[in-house]
Symmetry: C2
Subunit: 327 residues, 2 copies
DNA sequence: CTGTTAGCGCATTCAG
DNA sequence: CTGAATGCGCTAACAG
């Protein structure tokens, strides 16, 4: 392996001079520069970034934590990596499988100086446990949390969900079921408020048994389909907190012999690829921008030059799973 | 930041002793060990991994290169990360967007000592360009290539595809269209051979216009649906090289007013989540095992202790898009 | 069993 | 404009 010293020797200069031409810091005469460049070329020299990292104290890499693979992750990840690359950051992935220890290990990589910052897509530990790690480096997430120390690129799920419900109402649906995420999640709470306000506005009763909590997300809505199937009095529409779960719900109901949307209308959330493929009406809230903002926060904490945040937006995407109600 | 020296000072020993208790190499008396452990605790010391990496010359991280996000990537990635973690490796992701320069940059990270090895899921450059980088570290891929220097965890696409075609034949289909990947890809060539042999065996004519090459993969089969729609004489079945393209094909045909499988039967490949959701009959060839084998190769190149490879298998998954042909 | 010494490869003072 | 010296934090070889 050729090092800076080999280059220096070959170019007949000191290694500091070589270092200067590589980094571009400091003055170097044309002549010296030329000699160094030639020597580098001749020796096929390439810098050892570990050494540079040790010196600078940073690795230019950001950890991306998620429990595992689920649908919106793809879009988020791709946008995140893309913007990170633009600003010369790398992204390393940690799947925790919901294991708290694994998550802590990943968080600790900041302490060990392996990671400059961390993005949490889906967490395993409670925020109280995670928060203290922010002393080792910036942490951001797309979940809605109230914290001074963790950035949240959340969108307004209250109004987003209300948008879905109003749309169902306009199209003639009155008995609406809800599939929400983990009850402790603030996004879920925002949706719960939307449900309450929606029911009050339209004088609809709140049916507790029509609210489902999909805690695991693992079976992608299949179990929810079973529960719906066993419902004595079925809803004529179902609103979901995420497309992949809506997709699994539809898929399973079809297996059980139902037709969608004839037997039940479905509205998703995320506008992910699966919703496009399965013609599911959904809500787009720009995961891309969220990913970018999450990165921007981390970047701005780490660097002097600041990037400005992207604007968020929410949009309803009409497809085929919410026709006008004929019943 | 507290370093090994602070700990040594506090514990009243030399830094080598501290290093010994951390790494577990060499002998340390109970007494010294105890003092060191206490000091570490008291100072909340944690090792700087960059320094360790500089010393060892490796980073324990593997680059995962892909053009961008597409369906089977999720399963592959998850399995890959999972096994990598088991052997204490990290995975950093590089999306090339099909840009050759970006891919080279990523490959160069091995030269810069930032990456110990590289997995290529989908490439941008030709293999001839990629191969020389193997001098900097092990490279593996799931594509089928003939190379001494790049490992290929491919499965036998010839027999896998023949399996699909025989299944279609058994179920009564005689006019079969094919959607294949890039024509230069060896997997594609294997499938072409399967088509030829299949046609010969059953005395079916080879219809060139029924063979489609999906070069981009970007629109997920939508354009193929258009082409099929414009076919003067339509096939009664379509076989695909990957599920996501089959899914897009179905989705687009539905938009055009067709019914699947009534108007055309569809068989996919990969057994990915999307095929399960959309009830697409497909072939499972254990992406998980491929991911594991890809990692195992890299690991074995890098380490003394060898892990043994996983066995591969191919299995047909019957779902709803290939009913018995009634026509 | 332990301390001293010498690097790993590079960047950055500080003189000159 | 350039070289010598120092250090980033840790590991490993070598004496003792």
């Amino acid at each position: 392996m050729t090092t800076i010293i080999d280059v220096a020797r070959k170019a007949q200069v000191s290694k500091s001079t070589v270092s200067r031409v590589i980094s571009g810091n400091g003055y170097v005469s044309q002549e010296s520069r030329k000699k160094v460049l030639e020597a580098m070329e001749a020796l096929a020299y390439s810098p050892n970034l570990i050494a540079r990292n040790l010196q600078s104290g940073e690795t230019k890499t950001i950890g991306f934590l998620a429990q595992g693979f689920f649908d919106p992750l793809g879009v988020f990840l791709q946008s995140f990596i893309s913007i990170a690359k633009t600003y010369n950051y790398y992204v390393t992935l940690y799947f925790t499988d919901g294991d708290k220890k694994k998550e802590i290990e990943a968080l600790n990589q900041m302490k060990y100086k392996q990671l400059d910052g961390v993005l949490i897509l889906t967490r395993a530990n409670s925020w109280d446990v995670i928060e203290p790690y922010s002393i080792y480096g910036p942490i951001s997430t797309w979940h809605r949390i109230d914290s001074e120390r963790i950035y949240s690129s959340y969108v307004d799920h209250y109004s987003g969900y209300l948008r879905s419900l109003d749309y169902l109402f306009q199209r003639g649906y009155r008995s609406i079921g809800h599939v929400l995420g983990n009850a402790e999640n603030l996004n879920t709470k925002a949706r719960m408020r939307a449900i309450t306000d929606f029911n009050n506005k339209h004088q609809l009763p709140l049916e507790e048994k029509w609210i489902f909590h999909d805690k695991t997300r693992l079976d992608n809505g299949r179990s929810i389909a079973q529960l719906w199937h066993e419902l004595p009095q079925k809803t004529d529409a179902m609103a979901f907190y995420t497309d992949s779960v809506a997709a699994g719900f539809i898929s399973e109901l079809q297996t059980l012999g139902y037709s969608i949307p004839e037997d039940v209308a479905v509205i998703g959330f995320d506008n992910s690829e699966i919703s496009r493929l399965m013609h599911i009406t959904t809500v787009d809230y720009s995961i891309k921008h969220q990913a970018e903002n999450s990165f921007i926060y981390i970047h701005n904490q780490l660097n002097q030059e600041k990037i400005s945040e992207r604007k968020m937006s929410v949009e309803l995407i009409e497809r085929k799973t919410v026709p006008i109600n004929q019943k």
